[in-house]
Symmetry: C2
Subunit: 260 residues, 2 copies
Amino acid sequence: MKVEARRHNATGMIQIIPVKGIPEVAKGNDVSKSILEGCRISGIRLSSQDILIVTHKIVSKAEGQVLQLNSVVPSAFAKKAGRHIGKDPRQVEVILSEARRLVKMVRGLIIAETRHGFVCANAGVDQSNVKKGSIVLLPKKPDLSARKISEGILKTTGKDLPVVISDTFGRAWREGQIDVAIGIYGLEPFSDYRGKTDQYGYELKATVICIADELASAAELAMNKLDRVPVVVVRGYKFERDKEITARALTRSPARDLFR
Amino acid sequence: MKVEARRHNATGMIQIIPVKGIPEVAKGNDVSKSILEGCRISGIRLSSQDILIVTHKIVSKAEGQVLQLNSVVPSAFAKKAGRHIGKDPRQVEVILSEARRLVKMVRGLIIAETRHGFVCANAGVDQSNVKKGSIVLLPKKPDLSARKISEGILKTTGKDLPVVISDTFGRAWREGQIDVAIGIYGLEPFSDYRGKTDQYGYELKATVICIADELASAAELAMNKLDRVPVVVVRGYKFERDKEITARALTRSPARDLFR
C-alpha cells in the first residue's frame, strides 16, 4: 500500500515556479539572458523538461515595441473615433496601426483583430508596466521571439526548452480575463484526444485541449501584475516537442468559429 | 546572495497535484469521501491552504445527473433538428432539456446557454467517461455541489478548503478547448487590479483576472481524459476566501459582452 501511494504521488505533479528578480528589460536586451539572471537570483536550476512562460511585455520592451504617446500623430478618423468613444485619439491611432480589423468600438474600448490574428482588447496595445507616457505593442512575431529565447537559453545552458509568450485577454461569454499563448516555440500546443477511447470504450470525438493556453493561464497564477514576475517555469508537464507549429494554429478561422 | 536566492525561491511556487486512484463514483456516493480516498491512495496529505479542483463528471455521476439514452423520447422538434444537423435526436432532446437558449445549431453541434448561464457545446451534455448508452448532464447546482464537497472535507479532516467544479469548454476566436470553472465555493474567483498602481505609478483600469478559470485550466494539465484523474489539489496559490460568491459571477451578461 505504501509503495503504491508513493508511486502515485511521484507521478504527475506539476510545479509553477515564478522567476523573480528579473532586472528591468530595455530595448536591445537579450531576454534569454534576463531570464537566466532571474533564475540565478531565484535559485532556480533549469531542467531539460521545463517549459518557460514569458509575458509578452518584457519581450516587447526588449524588441523596442514601445512608442511614446507624445510622438503619435492621430489621423482624422482616430481623432473622430477617439472623441466618440471617449479614448485618447493617439491611443486609437496606435491601435489602428496594430489592427487588421476592428471587431467592436464602444465605451473607451476597441476590440480588434491584430495583424497576428488575435482578437483582443485594444489590439494588445497597453500602457501598464511601462514608463509613463509610453505605450507597449505586442511583439511583431511572437513565435520568433519565443524561438530566440529558447535558442538563447540552449546556447548558454545546453537545455532545449519550449517557450510560450503570453498575454492577458478578455473573452466572450465569461467575465474576467485570463492569460493565453500568443507565441509558441518547441511544443505541440494541443492535446488531441480525437479518436482515442476512454475507460468505457467511448471514442472521444471533439476533444482537443489547448494546453498552450492552459500553460499560460497556469503561469499567470504565479505572476503578479504589480510585482514584476514576468516569467514562470512550468516543471513536470509532459509535453510533446514540435518546432514547426506556430501560434497561428491557435487562432480560429471565422468559418470554423461557432462560438463567435 | 545565497539568502536572497533562497528567500525568492521559497515564495510563490504553486503545485498542481493530481489525485489518483479515486474509485468509480456511483449515484448517491459522497464525493468528498471519494476524494479523501484518492488522497489516501495518492499519498496526499491535504493542507489548510489547498484548493480542490473537481471535474464536474464525478459530481454529476454522484448526483445521478446521468440519463440512459434509450429512455429519452425526442420531441418532434428534436427529431427534425437532429436529422437536419446530423445528430442523434435523443441527444438533441437532452440538450434542449438542459438549455435555456440555443446560440447556434450546425454540423452535429449545438452551442447552447445552459440554465446556469454557461455558453458551451451541447449545453454541457456529454457521453465520454460514462457507461456506454449513458449521457451525463451538468450538476443541477454546481456551486452547491462545490459547497457540499468542501463541507464534507471539513467534517472529516477539519480543513476548510475552497472547491472549484470544472468543465472543458470551447470558446470564441481561439482553437481548442480549455477547462473553466462552472461551480465555486470558498474563494474569490477574481483577482481585481482595478485602481491599483504598477511599479511605474500607472493605475490599472480594466484588469480583472478570472483566477477560478485559470485554476481550472491549470488543473486540467495534471488530469487526463482517458485515465481517470478527476480531481487535482492546487497548493501554494494565495487565494482570498469568499463563501457567498457563486459561478454566476463568471457569466457575462450580453449587455457587457463586447467579445460576443
